[in-house]
């Protein structure tokens, strides 16, 4: 009996050592990554990002994967609700057993899962959320961000409105959650710096349908320029409503409204809108981005409807894939972190100029400005950089 117990003990010890050596979400054949995003509900439009990620994974897998491992992307729907995002991430980590979380849409949602992910030391690449939420935050060992900061972006937009468009007053139309509030915060900070006045702050709820009274409020402010931090639907609706009541300020929007679909939704009213972008947009003379889009739409033709979102999916995943390449066949979390930290001024197919380091987790700190005209976006400026915050 004693011998039997002894054998069992030795066996279980050996097995547990085996389990420890095996990294969660990594097998000889595949690497599993997870993400959560709105596939239903009022922000379901952004769910195309997940389809872009899946199409990109299929493209990589068709070429043999990374170091012989296929990429499996597990996408969960959170309806843009933070509690559901939190439940999804728990499930992805504890039940599905993912190696990393890649993306995760929504600033409020990312905020809701942040503590859990950090506490459990889960690799998280490019939370699709305002980057300023990481300023001053500790425990970022497993975090790598290549998403701009709405606060910094809004400052760039206000600065442009003041200097190039001659605006003396600005108003902000924003979504009443962390996404819009960060945009508003940036606009206020930018206004102080650029010496303009914020004369109206008009929020809306993401579930709201009608924004006609919001348009009247904006008109009454008589602001020279209006900043938009909204979903594509609300962005299009407010621009149309303002045009309808004869209010035509200079319009500036977050890059989240950078999809050509805006021309179909908002019509003529979208002409002249100034936006930012954090990777070269398709159809603006960048061959590699155009080719990436061609690959995605060949794999998933439905992505033709929203090329920006499809490419964003690629852009969010690309630094992670580069990390896998650099980490080599013998993939562990520690090796992956070291590999990511070795990325310096690296250009992917879609995302460009990414730099990480032992003390740097903010991979990009720049945007450029575009102008919407006749169904296309044209590049207005060179890269505008802001200081690295973390």
């Amino acid at each position: 009996m004693r011998t039997f117990v002894g054998i069992c003990l030795v066996l279980s010890l050996a097995l547990s050592v085996g389990v420890v050596a095996q990294e969660r979400g990594v097998t000889a054949e595949e690497v599993v990554i997870g993400t959560s995003m709105p596939l239903s509900g009022p922000a379901a439009y952004w769910g195309a990002v997940g389809r872009g990620m899946e199409a990109y994974a299929r493209f990589l897998n068709d070429q043999g994967g990374i170091h012989g491992r296929r990429l499996r992307v597990v996408v969960r729907d959170d309806s843009y609700l933070p509690p559901r995002a939190a439940a999804n991430v728990r499930e992805l980590v504890e039940r599905v057993g993912v190696f990393a979380i890649v993306g995760l849409i929504g600033t409020a949602n990312a905020f809701a899962v942040r503590d859990y992910i950090v506490r459990n030391e889960v690799v998280w690449v490019t939370p699709t959320a305002d980057a300023s939420m990481w300023y001053g935050f500790r425990d970022k060992k497993y975090l790598f961000v290549t998403y701009p900061s709405y606060v910094e972006e809004a400052k760039v937009l206000v600065d442009y409105a003041a200097r190039q468009l001659g605006a003396k007053t600005v108003a902000v139309f924003y979504q009443n959650d962390l996404y819009g509030q960060k945009g508003l915060l940036g606009a206020k900070q930018g206004a102080v710096r650029s010496r303009v006045r914020v004369v109206a702050q008009v929020p809306y709820e993401v579930t709201q349908a009608d924004v006609s009274s919001e348009a009247v409020r904006l008109r009454e402010s008589r602001a020279d320029a209006v900043l938009l931090y909204a979903t594509p639907r609300h962005g299009a609706l407010i621009v149309r409503e303002m045009a309808k009541i004869g209010y035509t300020p200079k319009l500036l929007s977050s890059f989240t409204l950078g999809d050509p679909i805006m021309f179909a939704l908002a019509g003529e009213a979208w002409n002249g809108v100034i936006s930012t972008a954090f990777f070269p947009l398709p159809g603006t003379g960048d061959n590699r981005v155009d080719q990436a889009l061609a690959v995605l739409t060949r794999i998933d033709p439905a992505l033709r409807q929203n090329p920006f979102n499809a490419l964003a999916g690629w852009a969010f995943m690309e630094p992670f894939v580069e990390g896998l390449r650099r980490a080599g066949r013998d993939l562990t979390k520690q090796r992956f972190v070291q590999a990511m930290e070795s990325i310096r001024n690296w250009d992917g197919e879609v995302i460009r100029g990414v730099t990480f380091g032992p003390d740097r987790r903010q991979g990009i700190n720049r945007v450029f400005l575009t102008r919407a005209e006749g169904g296309r976006y044209t590049r207005l400026t060179d890269w505008v950089t802001y200081s690295v915050g973390f």
Binding site: A48, D210, S213, R233, I245
Partner: protein
């Protein structure tokens, strides 16, 4: 003054659409005592069917008719297959059934038509505007309000002046007595559900050009329609219209002069206030039961 008039005009425009949604809810509630939480999704389904017909090259009127018929059939089918068998169940059971159908419809539409927001064409222009004094109202908004009022008038004619309307009222009042008198209650109820579905689809087709179409377009208008129905009285058709218009105007003025941030909360405050002060609503009959 012009500013207030502009807020009122905006409020009437959105209120007209809330009224249309409320009518569908009330029509079903008064005849079958079922609160149909799938009503909003039936509205969207009608709009999507119409859009598909338009994209297939059908003329506008035929496409809208296809949307109406499709949503009507879906609504009547839902009644026959799911609601009728569980009608003997609890009120909560019925509510859960309709909620389940709503979730199913949402998923079905996202699967078939995708989740991206789509523009919905309309014969009326959103850009061409009428100016009355300083008040601006677009052709599309004015047209939608007019269409909503015409639909309300047609519905009240149908309910008050036709044999089907009479049968509907009879079944609503006392299903057993109506059946004993030879009214085919089941068929009348199925027709009521079909009618509510069609009414919903017309609301969907009128709302889609204004709000842009996606599978979850009706989340907010449905809640507002529900609030309007409670305000007007759950079993009163004129109440639904007055409730919708009142809520639309109140919301717009509230956003203009009190707080734009808490505009969305107003409809819930209205529900709470009505339930506290006048539970039967503005036009509803008080709840009485003889024992």
């Amino acid at each position: 003054m012009t500013l207030a008039a502009q807020y009122v005009a905006n409020g009437l425009a959105s209120g007209g659409l809330y009224a249309l949604v409320a009518l569908g809810i009330v029509l079903l509630y008064r005849s079958s005592r079922v609160l149909n939480f799938a009503h909003g999704d039936l509205c969207t389904l009608g709009a999507f069917l119409a859009l598909s017909a338009l994209q297939a090259g059908w003329p506008y009127a035929a496409s809208v008719a296809a949307g109406l018929v499709g949503a009507g059939l879906a609504s009547a089918g839902f009644y026959q297959v799911l609601v009728r068998p569980v009608r003997e169940g609890t009120v909560l059971g019925l509510v859960i059934t309709t909620l389940g159908f709503a979730l199913f419809l949402g998923g079905f539409m996202a699967w078939v038509w995708g989740t991206d927001t789509k523009p919905f064409p309309s014969p009326m222009s959103d850009v061409r505007v009428y100016r009355l004094g300083g008040v601006v109202i677009s052709e599309l908004t004015a047209g939608s309000l007019a269409a909503a009022l015409v639909l309300v008038a047609l519905l009240s004619l149908l309910v008050q002046r036709t044999p089907l309307g009479l049968a509907m009222r009879a079944v609503a009042q006392n299903p057993v007595a109506a059946q004993l008198l030879g009214v085919p209650a089941r068929r009348v109820l199925a027709a009521t559900w079909a009618l509510a579905g069609m009414l919903g689809a017309s609301a969907g087709v009128l709302l889609a050009p204004v709000l842009l179409l996606d599978p979850f377009m009706m989340l907010d208008p449905f809640l507002k329609g529900f609030a309007a129905a409670v305000l007007g009285g759950m079993d009163s058709l004129p109440g639904a219209v007055v409730g919708g218009l009142t809520l639309g105007v109140a919301e717009s003025l509230f956003a203009g002069y009190v707080s734009v941030k808490f505009k969305a909360t107003l409809s819930f405050l209205v529900i709470v206030a009505v339930l506290l002060l006048k539970p039967e609503g503005l036009f509803g009959r008080p709840f009485e039961r003889r024992v």
